[in-house]
Structures are given as structure tokens and as C-alpha cells.
């Protein structure tokens, strides 16, 4: 009801509802107390299907009482639960309140288990089989849509099972990544470098990881790299975990290491978003997830 600026519609709804119920009660009462004139039952003059006729008999008692009970139930319901405009009802029930109640109950049920793992450090949690199983379930529920069920990711989504990390793979960093999310931005440089410049830089990037490349173009590209790309990827192209800038000297590619793909990345840029889960999952589940993810590339699977 907060869509409205005044209380008018709230009262409008409440008045119509209460008036309708009262009208039903009055109608029912008047119909059931009025006697047929002279106590004589007659037809109402309606005939269907040749011989089906309607009599003006009084309402059957069971039906009348059911109607009264319905009215009482309706009134009681509207008194106890929200139903009359903005009136919140005696119980003050809300759907979000019920949801929170269920959450609180789940918290009470599972809280001790989560608390036990929350108190352990991540390598210890990762070594616990039950914690790994919980972590896997959480991962399959929340993470696998992007990182795939086997956590090996896909095009644009990092592989979490190798030792290659954009922002760092130590337990605290993984936990921070899941909690707050990440937003990796490669700015589009197509306009700044021109098509020729883009291709030269792409050749140089290829050369960094030892790929086949055109040495002349790569040499030109190196100059551009040294003035622009160096800011994030560093002078030797090994990236910067603080910015999430990828290491360009290894064979691991987020979007692919073909020449055309690299050129596209330089030309159009990339914008990669890892959503923040801290608020949604809470620290205890994030901790278990971080342990699961850390465990994928450290020791036990």
C-alpha cells in the first residue's frame, strides 16, 4: 500500500470489505427470519426442464449456520491478519516476518555446525570431509552456474582448480573475493591505439607467453605496452593481483589465447564481474565455500 501517497485507498478497501461482510450478514439474517406469508410454501413461478420448480422454502439450517460461521471466520481473520487496507492485524503477521522466522529457525538448527567451521582456519576446514561436502553443495548451488560444476570455469569464467589466480589464491583473498565480489575491467583501447596499434600489441602479448608472433609487429607493440598496458599488467606482463590484472606470460587465458581473441580483448576491453555473496550467504557459508575453493587447488580435491 506504500504505492499510494494518502490513506484514502486503504480506507476505501477496508470500508468496502467491512460493508460487504455486514451486508451479507444482514441479508442472511433478514432472509432467515422472514416468514413465508401464511407459512405457505409456494413456487416462485420459475420452471426449468419442464418440471423443475423453485419453492420459497426457508434456507436450510446447516447452510445458514455455515454462512454465519463463514462471516465470523472472515471477521476474525481480518482482525488477526492483515487484510483491511493498511491495518496490520492483531498478530502483525508479514510474509517477510515469517521468512525471517524460518531463517532464524534454520540458523538455530544449523548455526552450531557452521559456527564450528567458522572458528577453524581455512586449510583445516578444507581438510574436513563433512565441510568439503557442505562446501560442494554450496558451490553447486551458488557458484556452478558460472564456474561450472567441476569448478573449471569456462570462457570468461576463471578456472578455480589451478594455481593461477587473478586476485591471489591465499585463503583470506579467496574469502574476500566471495564476500565482496570482484569487478575486473580491461579498458577498451581500440580508439586510443588505432587498429594497427591493437594488432601490434596483440603480437607482443603473444610473444610474452612464447606464442608464434610477428617479431617486427611485436617490437612496435612493446613500445605501446610499455606506455599503456604496463600500468596494470606490469613492465614484464606478469600482471598485478591487486588489480586483478592477469599474468600475460603464462598459457592460462580467461577469454582465449588466439591472436584474434587477444586483439578483440585489447580493442573492445573486457568487463568481468564476480558478484558479492557476503550479504546473501553470510560469513559462515562464505567461509565454507572459501575453504572448498581453496581446497580445489591445494592438496586434497
Amino acid at each position: 500500500m506504500s504505492d499510494f501517497t494518502s490513506d484514502f485507498w486503504s480506507y476505501y478497501v477496508a470500508v468496502i470489505t467491512l460493508a460487504s461482510i455486514a451486508a451479507c450478514a444482514v441479508l442472511l439474517w433478514s432472509m432467515s427470519t422472514r416468514r413465508v406469508a401464511g407459512d405457505k410454501v409456494e413456487t416462485m413461478g420459475h420452471v426449468w426442464d419442464e418440471n423443475l420448480v423453485e419453492y420459497n422454502n426457508p434456507l436450510p439450517n446447516w447452510w445458514r449456520w455455515m454462512f454465519y460461521i463463514t462471516i465470523v471466520f472472515g471477521a476474525a481473520y481480518l482482525l488477526l491478519y492483515p487484510g483491511l487496507g493498511r491495518f496490520a492485524g492483531y498478530f502483525g503477521w508479514t510474509s517477510s516476518g515469517q521468512y525471517q522466522g524460518e531463517q532464524a529457525k534454520a540458523e538455530a538448527d544449523y548455526g552450531p555446525l557452521f559456527a564450528k567451521y567458522a572458528a577453524m582456519d581455512i586449510p583445516a576446514v578444507a581438510a574436513d570431509p563433512q565441510a568439503r561436502e557442505i562446501g560442494q553443495r554450496l558451490f553447486l548451488n551458488y557458484c556452478s552456474q558460472c564456474h561450472a560444476s567441476d569448478a573449471r570455469g569456462g570462457r570468461g569464467f576463471p578456472n578455480l582448480t589451478d594455481k593461477d589466480w587473478l586476485y591471489g589464491g591465499d585463503p583470506a583473498t579467496i574469502e574476500a573475493t566471495i564476500t565482496s565480489g570482484r569487478n575486473g575491467i580491461m579498458p577498451p583501447l581500440g580508439q586510443a591505439l588505432g587498429e594497427e596499434g591493437v594488432k601490434n600489441v596483440a603480437q607482443y602479448v603473444l610473444s610474452l607467453s612464447g606464442g608464434t608472433h610477428d617479431a617486427a609487429m611485436a617490437a612496435k607493440g612493446k613500445e605501446t605496452f610499455g606506455t599503456i598496458c604496463v600500468a596494470c599488467h606490469g613492465p614484464d606482463g606478469k600482471g598485478n593481483p591487486a588489480l586483478g590484472a592477469p599474468n600475460l606470460t603464462d598459457q592460462t587465458w580467461l577469454y582465449g589465447g588466439a591472436e584474434a581473441t587477444i586483439a578483440e580483448t585489447v580493442r573492445l576491453g573486457r568487463n568481468n564481474k564476480m558478484p558479492a555473496w557476503g550479504e546473501f550467504l553470510g560469513p559462515a557459508k562464505v567461509h565454507l565455500l572459501a575453504a572448498y575453493v581453496w581446497g580445489l587447488s591445494n592438496g586434497k580435491p
Partner: protein, 472 residues
Amino acid sequence: MSTSAKPRLAQAAEPVEQALYEIRRKIYPRAVTGKFAASRWFFVWATQLVFYGLPWLSWNGRQAVLFDLVHRKFYILGLVFWPQDVVYLTVLLIISAYSLFLFTAVAGRLWCGYACPQTVYTEIFLWIEKAIEGDRARRMKLDSAPLGGRKLALKAAKHAAWIAVALWTGFTFVGYFTPIRHLWAEAFTLSFGPWEWFWVNFYGLATYGNAGWLREQVCKHMCPYARFQSVMFDRDTLIVTYDGGRGEPRGSRSRSVDHRAKGLGDCVDCGICVQVCPTGIDIRDGLQYECIGCAACIDGCNQVMDKVGYPRGLIRYASENAVRDRLSFAGIVRRVLRPRILVYTAILWAIILAAGYSLYQRVPVKVDVIRDRVASVRDAEEVENVYRLQIMNTTEAPRRFLISVSGLPGLKISGGDAEVEIGAASSRMIPVRLQAPRQQAKTGANPIVFTIQTAGEAEPVAIAEKASFVVQ
């Protein structure tokens, strides 16, 4: 059916309000003994021993029959049904329906007369009523007497006994859904949960109300079966029949006179058949929808026939044709084997055998395969697809399963065939990565098959599940 349109119309035309509703006359069924009453008591015992006793049985350290709604596991002796097995419930309902059709076509409302809970609990409640208040005549007298100390005591005792039975019934009912021994412990401290309170009392109240108060009204006004039984009857259906040709004209007579000479039939018009009827009808008016086929009138009439020295069977199980054509017993049996019955029987047995075979063949493992959508093709020499296998172990012991795959040359599970352990009666999701050489697979969806087989067992069971391997 005797209720033709004419009396209805005549009733309605009367200028009184009662024309629309007949005020219920309370029925005081007279207790009766005999072959059919004994059969009914047999069924009362048989059904209620099962109903009250079953939840107390144990099987492998758990309740033998338990419908665990919270965890969605339905334990019936050695079997554990999951919601995915709902087809068996469907089959059970179909079998019940066909049995009803078959039995009704053969001999009318056998279900109603002997096994229906409404009949069974009414029988139990009537027995209590008779034990406390006495038989029909005494009950009628008691009810018409003014309220006094004795009447109050008798009524209170009766209702207390009824309520005790009803609550025990409600308790037992809930015991099918929540462990009954636990419930029993809770009963002593009155610490049921809210839903347990509700269902114990609701089911108890329904039993008390239906078997104590409503009785035949349930059959006459609430149960749909009475209304559509006529489509299951035919002229060869055995029904509780009064042999009018032999009985009429009815009338009382002195035992010393030859009634035939006086022009009387065999019916002595003693009214026993009406007094014993739990629905308060007169079977001599012919088949009526109120008749639940309990055969109490047969027992009652046979006793009278014995007493007056006439042959039994003035009221008996007979078909319309049998009475009309004076068929012999062999003739009646021959008519029972008519196409309708044979078709019903054949269909019923086909379903029972198919269901039994299916249960026998039921593999205690279920698998759902869900293909990952994000990374259908990975940039590698081999094409990779990732799947999530939800493996459900429906047995009550942990089991190891071997996952393998087939359908494409060179298709393999990365890291080799996987072996996983699934806990007792639980399910687990297993990520599986498949690899196939690029040149072996055509672009698009390639049909493949996952095989999940129990590992390390003498008689392994296997289940196959289809999936697609996508190549871009």
C-alpha cells in the same frame, strides 16, 4: 430403485416446510448374529488388527511402516519409496478402483458391507453401545426416558468409551506419519507438536462423529459410492434380495395353520429385517441406494425362518435374474462368469502382475543428469562437457557406485570412471567432466548414456540414464 419420481413430487407438493428435508429418524439397529455378521466381525478384526498393530512393528531397527513426510521417505517393510515412486501409489489406487468395480459387479457393495472403515467403526461403536446401554429396545427406551442419574451415567460411560476408542484411532493414524513409539512417549507428557495435536484430535473426532453420530448418514448423503453404484450393477449382480415371489403376501400367522392354505407367503412380517438394518430401510421394498449390502437382514430373517420352520433364504444374496428365473446355484455361478466380470478380472490381474514385476525389478538407485550450460565446450584439444549427476541411493545402507559413460568413440570421464559413495537413503550431486576427441563428435548434440552401477557387490545393479554431449 424404489424411489421413483412420483412419491418425491407428491411430497414436494405438500404445503409444509418439511417437504424439502426429512428430519432424520434415529436408527437403532438391532444386534444380529449369523454367517454374515460373523464375516463382518472377521473383517473388523482383520482390518483393525492391521491398522492398530502395523505401526508398532519394527523392521531392521526402524518402524516397519512409516510415511515420513518431512524427509519424504516412505518406508513399507523392506522398501523405501521416494516421491519419485509416486507411480506405485497411482497403481495402488488403480488396483483399488478395479477391485471395487470387480467386487461390486460380482456381489454388490461387499466393500461397504464388510470392510469400509465407516462400517467397521460403526460396528465397533455399536458393540460398545450395546454393551453399555443394551440392545435396540433398551436403547429406545433409554432415549425416550427423562434425563436421570442412570441415563446420565450410561450416556457418559458410552461417550467416554467412544472417545477413548476414537482418540486411540487418531493416535494410531498419526503413528503412521511420525514414529509411534516416540509419539507414545510424548503422549504421557502431553508434549505433542501442534500438527500432532491437530491430527490426533481431528482424526479422532472424525471417527467419533462418523461412527457414533452420523453413521448411515455418511453412507446416504456423503459417500459418492452409493450414487454411482448403479452403473456397476447389472441384472446378474448378486445383491441382498428379498424373494417377493416366495414371501408375498406377507402377514402374521399362527404356527398351527397352514399359511399356504390361507394364501399367505413365507414372510411372517415380523419386521426383524427392518430392525437390524443399519440404514433403516425395508429390504422388502427392493434394491435401494441406501442399502450398504451388509446382509444383516439375511442373518435376521434366517433366524426367524429357522424358528418358524421355513427354509432359509427368504432374503438372500441373489441377482435380479436369479430371482426372476428361479436359477439354481450352478446357474448363478455360471452367470457370474460373464464377459464384464472376466474383463475386469483380466485387467485387474494384468495391473497387479505388472506392478508386482515392476516392484521386483525396481532398482534401488535413481539418477538425474543435469548438463552444465556455462562451459559446454572448453578451449582444449578435446571437447569437454560438464554434468551434474544427482545419484539417489534408496536403500538403507551406504553404497558405492561406479559411474561410466558410453555413446561416442573415445568418450571418457576425465580422470577415469568415477567411484562414489552415497549414504543410506540419501542423495548426492556428483560433478562429472566428460572428454571426447574433437574429430570423433559431430557438431550439435550427441546422444550418450551414463551407466551407474553398484560397486563391490556380488550382484551389482545398474541403471542407465540418457544425456547429450554437445559440440559447438
